[in-house]
């Protein structure tokens, strides 16, 4: 996972497999970065994620809440077809902008 701070906020390049086992560490690292940088926009980049189950939805919804509490927004980027399929089932695409 690579964190990159930019003008509008924070981009997180996620990698590997996002399941229940991996999501705890991922969310802790992202939340630490959010509290440290207070971004207006959080971009979650899924372009090199090889697998995601509904644990990834929990991850996105949780970060949405954190960002929403601080008046920020969340963007999902680079999600491949299987990941988009899980996201659409959850309706998370209505909360976060997918591009």
């Amino acid at each position: 996972m690579i964190l990159k701070q930019h003008e509008r906020g924070l981009t997180v390049l996620l990698d590997g497999e996002i399941d229940h086992h991996a999501s705890k560490t991922i969310r802790e690292e992202i939340d630490t970065a959010i509290y440290e940088t207070v971004p207006d926009e959080l971009v979650l980049d899924f372009s090199i994620v090889s697998f995601m189950d509904s644990s990834g939805i929990g991850l996105v919804l949780g970060r949405y809440k954190v960002m929403h509490e601080n008046g920020g927004s969340i963007v999902i980027e680079g999600a491949t077809q299987p990941i988009v399929k899980v996201m659409k089932l959850s309706g998370v695409d209505k909360l976060a902008r997918i591009r």
Partner: protein, 144 residues
């Protein structure tokens, strides 16, 4: 239906085994020559079923998860995931999308919804204090 091939996988309900379980089932199912989308559906559905065992069934301690996979004639894949954990008091309620008893762990409550949508058939039987059995079926390649 005639069983063409089958295997059983038994492992400790540890989150480290989630990836192992879904990968192993998909490797076996590859004998039915699924396409990438079908493999992805199977991988995700198995991951949800196994995660449920770890997060919910054995939330109060350790236990074992058993997966049986059968390749049936007509290119049908049959998967059974069993635990001997706490069981589910109200299966119908548990299957409602977004319903979860593990909000603190950021569970989305979508496990059964994913299994139902990604596989052709899903059945859940459970007895409180005895455990839960999830069975799923998916016809691969339109039964080629």
């Amino acid at each position: 239906m005639k069983v063409m091939n089958e295997f059983e996988l038994k492992f400790r309900a540890k989150s480290e085994n989630e990836s192992f379980a879904r990968t192993t089932v998909c490797a076996f199912a590859a004998q039915l020559d699924p396409n990438i989308s079908e493999i992805s559906d199977i991988r995700t559905a198995v991951s949800e079923a196994v995660t449920n065992c770890i997060v919910h069934a054995y939330k109060n301690g350790e236990g074992t998860v058993v997966i049986n996979v059968k390749l049936l004639d007509g290119n049908m894949l049959y998967i059974k995931v069993r635990d001997k954990g706490c069981g589910i008091a109200d299966v119908q309620k548990a299957m409602e999308p977004m319903y979860t008893t593990a909000e603190s762990d950021e569970r989305a409550g979508l496990g059964f919804a994913v299994m139902e949508n990604f596989m052709d058939k899903l059945a859940v039987t459970s007895k409180p204090g005895k455990g839960t059995t999830v069975t799923m079926r998916k016809r691969i390649g339109n039964g080629k």
